[in-house]
Symmetry: C2
Subunit: 511 residues, 2 copies
């Protein structure tokens, strides 16, 4: 314990000191052999093209490749890899689908990227208990395909087909959060490999252990509790047992440990679904409608906002004929009878706030057509400047402050000379400004960064957060300090030092 | 920081070394004078009767009075009190309404009880943002009275009229959790005074500080950020900014810091409410009905289970004529039209599972009459043995395991010779066995303890938790170790040592 509590001022990259500088990049040949001994030779790569694929996500952060990529097959191998890196002082970067938006996988200090996608089993499905246990290679779409005829589904939907453990690590949410909550609300238990190779079950393991696997190596392992096939207990729906370790790891962005399984809360699949859209004379009218819908306890499943610029881009890109005006996209889930009432109330409220063009659709194809603009936002905005990349801001404010920040942001956008459009999960007060940027133009990249920082500070001034769902990653560390204050950041630093005393887990992120 | 990370092996009660052994109990006269200098002489008491009132909660844990009780008026005073105790090595026990059920306020090492009920302001109400900021003296009933005509309410309802900050500290829930979640789901931000007197805002403060208050004393305070009138930002509905410090303090039972304000999520007040009850031929039939209601996505607001013994006790106590059979008590919230549909579906499902005597009521008085048995459970069970006290167990299991544990528990109850009845928040898999015990009979108290431990282990074996909502407190520390495992407990110990290096915050609880 003393070891874990001591803050080690570890040298920047000690293992590079004995690098062979050969084909393995900056790692010594012996170290790469040791990795191969754990996962097998074919599950380790030091090829430049592979390392580069793992050094970037979908953001504009520049590629920073790891020194090696490994693909463990099971949690035992992950424990041994972590222990190996821990002993040698080598950084670890967990990797899922690479669909993050804040540079969370960039290997800023090199090290070993642990690609967890080969661990892709659905370990346990409990229909009566509304829970499922999945490994890190299972994506949200794969899970929902598996659940198709079960009557249940997993609603958190960040857009990308991300891995569920990666979504837990990021604290992801998306369009459904207004009704079903974020990952913070839907993770019941996590299996985590701590930086020293110890295995933690945040809400408790199954109470069956077997003795440590033989030949595990260093003594940091003596406390590893080896669990059976499905180590993460499906667990109960609620608990007041001790400190909430699950919540500590949800949103920790790979900086405290590697998530190797997660137990998720499932929800009844909606009996029927209706989609709707309507256009507004102003941003204020769209936001007022949202507040009134929520106050009227209409259990809206999705309520998305697109500004006039976005609607115009969508019209051009998808050959649509929508009003070029602030627009709400709504979705309702429920029984047919309940839906009719929800729809009627929503239409009354939106019309009262000046909405026009209220359209709705029941059947899947019609719904897709109606929501086409929303589905294609990213590509429609990118098409405004072919050859460029997209960068998405991610602030979230109390909903009452949404109109003013949206108006200010549109002015800032104009003043900055940047190309951008606004789309928001308006029921949560969360919105994204999608900026289209030439990644080869440093001056423009600089303007994007300045705009994003300025927007983050605007959100903080309105008592919001600099990130609703994408995380801190590389680019928002200064904003995090401003958001949580000196004591908050110091407490987070202590947490990091406690769980990762050598600073090896995904270094350079969050703090 | 080095100070906070070092685990100090502090002597058991160093401040007792210079005790004057006078009217102030075990505290020195000088120390009591220092407390008075912070809060004023009339807000400090060392009277035996006052100390005894603060040394017990509503459980059967024996009274263990603190050495002094203080009533701070504001957060600045709480910071100064904490700093004073920290420097002198005096334990601190936070005190709200004293309605806890696990001995959380027992001063097992003496020390200073900080009664926070004089801080009772509702600091900020944001109707559009569905949030409110309250001080520790505000109870859930006081808040809902304040909200009466606002169209919003705070639904978490543990039965007792507990303080909302105390409910956050315990991770409380209650009858509404199946629909509205527990405190874990409804706390957005906390203002916490750390053991050394530093002020932490778990989701970030308002970004306005003033300089440290003059005359604050010891240098541990140099980082205290002094916030303005309403220091806890109302905050956004969601965030992915750094580690989730809010969740770390919800359910920490006063062992990591003093909660001096909390921001809560509010919900739209239901347009209409319907209550219903029905009796079942078996426990299995009642639980099956619950699962089917949840699977059918009927948004039931409360679904409570009472066993036959409890129903019999309620009939006798409240002169009712209910079936002496496993019974469900349901409540639905929604529009009139939605309620009609919910009621119809629930009735179909329960009848399909063999329910009889399906009754429902709309108007407040009718509803109260229908739910009379549920409302009076505690007193009805206590009336089975006049002069005795009640003790409530609190396990929670995956709902699929509920029938078997209920059947086993009823057999255990018979075998133990104890008087007890079962009532459960069945939608969460959480149930209480209310045991009636003679507090003067050590042998019977011992049997109660053995029964409760055995039940806790049964729940763990079924992948449940030893506490759904009452917390660990004094009596479940061993069960917590079995529940979360060696690595889990070690991680919790590290968290405790990190935030409370001198072990002064509510010692002897949780760990």
């Amino acid at each position: 314990m003393a070891l874990l509590l001591r803050v080690t001022t570890w040298g920047l990259c000690p293992w590079r000191g004995y690098s062979s500088k050969g084909a393995q990049g900056a790692l010594s040949k012996g170290f790469v052999e040791a990795l191969k001994a754990v996962v097998g030779p074919s599950s380790v790569s030091t090829a430049a093209v592979i390392r580069e694929q793992h050094g970037r996500d979908e953001s504009v952060h520049r590629c920073q490749p790891p020194d090696a990529v490994v693909w463990p097959q099971n949690v035992y191998q992950v424990c041994r890899l972590a222990a190996l890196c821990y002993c040698q002082g080598v950084p670890i970067i967990p990797f899922g689908t690479g669909t993050g938006l804040e540079g969370g996988v960039c290997a800023v200090q090199g090290g070993v990227c642990i690609n967890l996608t080969h661990m892709d089993r659905i370990l346990e499905l409990n229909l009566e208990d509304f829970s499922v246990v999945v490994e890190p290679g299972v994506t949200r779409k794969a899970l929902n395909t598996h659940l198709r005829d079960s009557g249940l589904w997993f609603p958190v939907d960040p857009g990308a087909d991300a891995s569920l453990c990666g979504m837990a690590a990021t604290g992801a949410s998306g369009t459904n959060a207004v009704r079903y909550g974020t990952m913070r609300d839907n993770v019941l238990n996590l299996e985590v490999v701590l930086p020293n190779g110890q295995l933690l079950h945040t809400a408790g393991p199954r109470r069956h252990f077997r003795s440590p696997a033989p030949g595990l190596g260093p003594d940091v392992h003596q406390h590893v509790a080896w669990a059976l096939t499905c180590p993460v207990s499906p667990g109960s729906r609620k608990s007041a047992a001790g400190y909430n370790l699950t919540a500590l790891f949800v949103g920790s962005e790979g900086t405290l440990g590697l998530i190797t399984a997660t137990t998720l809360r499932l929800h009844p699949a909606p009996e029927a679904t209706v989609a709707a859209t309507c256009a507004f004379p102003s941003v204020q009218a769209a936001v007022d409608s949202t507040v009134h819908i929520l106050q009227a306890a209409v259990p809206v499943a999705r309520i998305e906002f697109l500004d006039d610029v976005t609607m115009d881009a969508c019209n051009r890109h998808s050959k649509l004929n929508c009003s070029v005006a602030p627009t709400l996209f709504l979705e309702f889930h429920g029984s047919k009878q309940a839906l009719a009432e929800q729809l009627q109330r929503a239409e009354e409220i939106t019309r009262h706030n000046g909405a026009s063009h209220f359209s709705w659709a029941k059947e899947p194809e019609e719904r897709s057509r109606l929501w086409a603009a929303r589905h294609n936002v990213w590509y429609a905005v990118l098409a405004l400047r072919p050859g460029c990349k997209g960068y998405s801001t991610d602030v979230c404010v109390p909903i009452s402050r949404l109109p003013e920040i949206l108006v200010q942001t549109k002015e800032d956008l104009k003043a900055s000379g940047l190309t951008g459009a606004i789309v928001g999960h308006v029921g949560d007060g969360n919105f994204h400004c999608i900026l289209v940027v030439d990644p080869e133009d440093p001056e423009e990249l600089h303007r994007v960064e300045a705009f994003a920082q300025h927007l983050g500070r605007r959100a903080l001034a309105l008592h919001g957060t600099c990130t609703g769902e994408h995380g801190i990653g590389l680019g928002k560390r200064q904003l995090l300090q401003e958001e949580v204050g000196a004591v908050g950041v110091e407490t987070m630093r202590q947490l990091k030092a406690m769980l990762d005393p050598r600073g090896l887990m995904n270094p350079g992120k969050v703090l």
